[in-house]
Symmetry: none
Subunit: 208 residues, 4 copies
DNA sequence: TATGAATGAGGGTTCATTCAT
DNA sequence: GATGAATGAACCCTCATTCAT
């Protein structure tokens, strides 16, 4: 399609995966050195600078890359499933495959990228950013439509509140893992996230 | 009073408040320098090292300090209120007073403290940590008891799930603000947090 | 007087002298590391950055500092002496004292500072630059006046040509040392410079 | 011809010319990257290493190449002209053709090559060096002979002083351009160089 | 006690050099 | 032979920490 601009060279993807692996191991942005990323990606430190202009850009691009991966996963879930709960379950189950969807890594990364940095992230490739955000909002709308169609979402709830619940579930998961020391890859964690979303959004007399 | 260990000198509190002010301004842990904390606290850089052994300790102690403040606030809310919703509303409303309860700052700080660092945080004053965690769990138990007593919490829900929901609400708030660019101090944000918790925990036929 | 702005802290002067020492040893700008300057100045590397914002600034400021020193020396020579030859001899003799007048170092430095860099040098503190340049031109005018008054300078010669001769003598000295491997501190070198200037500028029937 | 050792492959000459072009643009040695030379020469970066063992060698050989070119030019001038002034004028005029005789570039290069480097330059191909230096001295002797024969050079002057004057004129030109921001290719600059040499070397009663 | 000038270990980045294609 | 992607040593600069005042 026209999304070709989003394709990354194999070296870039190696860098992203290396970064995700580090993030998955609980390494924090501020403690990740360029040398670490290079080692994790299996390339020389200098090689990274052939593909990225700075450490900052590596992180920024990796965040967007992961987000795109996640969106792809979510869109696929929405094509195959019809109910909100099934979509979410399918989506979260897919997060198991760390190679494809390093969600914990993304969440960790986004949490760890300083605010000041995010400015750069936004300025860096505004068109990429815009495209991703649009895709994100479309997916959200589609998800809420599905939930409302099946009666899983209380019609009285605003889009904003629904969004708030979903984001809290996604990122709260990371927080929860931190406090209670559970592994983000623990299926129980993901089940709780789905459950929380469904319960919080369900109509008052929801029986399901 | 065996809690004496918890009292802090005015200089220490100045350091904490300075750090909270920085965190509230959106400054990220990794971009906060010791000089920044000293300036924000209105003391010399060297003075900080009279009270703390390292930057790491400043952050760690500040996190615990903020947590203790929050717990005090929550305990107070639970004494004055009876229903889960009222307790939460009272608690979250108190978060307005940034001087007393820099919640956004805490959330931001905890999110920004690297995992590796948290090890230090745990090893540093294990007794302090234990005491705070015990107090945290007591408060949680008390909160859930209140909710179950009033029928606001579905009896079928496990403690673990309830905790998950509350943590997601607390920390998801930060995430939500980041994504949707809302201000954490926005009352609407806090209302949504309370609403989400209540809806997610309510029994299936909950009418309130 | 009002020239107070030009005073430098002792650490700054130490840095300049360290740099001059390195330049005097024949070290070239591009091979001088910040660590070298720090070592030569007898301070820590980090200390330099308390007084200068970059290596670039160290060099720039050092060049101007040396230029000011030289100008002071020249102005003094012009007060004490009357004939062009005597002024030049007195001036060049003073260049012996490397601590006070590191001329070879200046010449070497100016030669070694890349053109691109000189842009910075000019943009950095334009007022300092302007003041120094004005002082330089005044000294030149005074020198030429002296030479013309005493008949040592051919009245037919333009200011521009006179300037060209003097600059060639000053900087050619460095070049000459490089090619013939003489030491810049060799008195014979300085005698030749004076001789060359006087001969090139003298009237056609000059007998002196 | 026993001078066969001096012939360079087309790729080598391309590298030299590329370097000269960069130097002519005012680029300084320390800011010229191997990639720049390769680009300016129109070859791949790796290709340079087929013909030179290091960046250092490229510079060294280029300096000698330019020197040889200049010497050829000077020898030709001495064959066609008889008076010192005519030789110099003819010689300097030829410097206009930047392709053949990039004098400004040479001067700039020699000035910019660090002393440490010059050691390498001397050790690198001692035989080449010796041959060039001998040729240089022969040319100098021939030039001085011409000047003395025509009475343009004061018989009292030593060879060393004459050499000093000529070198100062050559390299002072570069210095002069730097200070007064004139272009080295400006004919006025070259006229002043000839004038300075002739005036400085002329006998006391010289009328020409 | 309070300070900030001094420090140097460590990080991000550059670029000369290599080598598989 | 010609190339440029990959490399890592080495540099400039930052900033947590120390210590003389």
């Amino acid at each position: 399609m026209t999304e070709k601009a989003n394709t990354c060279s194999s070296k870039e993807i190696a860098a992203f995966q290396g970064l995700f692996a580090l993030a998955r191991d609980g390494r924090h942005y501020s403690s990740i050195k360029v040398q670490d990323i290079a080692s994790a990606a299996g390339v020389g430190k200098g090689t990274l600078y052939e593909y990225f202009s700075s450490k900052e850009e590596i992180i920024s691009r990796a965040v967007f890359y992961a987000l795109e991966q996640l969106l792809g996963r979510l869109e696929q879930s929405m094509q195959e499933m019809t109910t909100l709960r099934c979509i979410l379950e399918h989506f979260f189950d897919g997060l198991n495959d760390e190679r494809v969807l390093p969600f914990a890594a993304l969440s960790e990364l986004i949490a760890s990228v300083p605010l000041e940095q995010r400015k750069f992230l936004e300025e860096h490739s505004p068109s990429d950013k815009e495209r991703t955000y649009r895709r994100l909002q479309q997916a959200e709308q589609q998800l809420l439509s599905a939930g409302r169609r099946t009666g899983e979402i209380d019609p009285a709830l605003t889009d904003r509140f629904c969004e708030y619940v979903i984001l809290s579930a996604l990122f709260g998961q990371t927080a929860s893992c931190r406090i209670s020391r559970a592994k983000a890859s623990d299926p129980a964690q993901r089940r709780m996230a789905v459950e929380m979303i469904c319960r919080a959004l369900r109509p008052r007399d929801n029986r399901g």
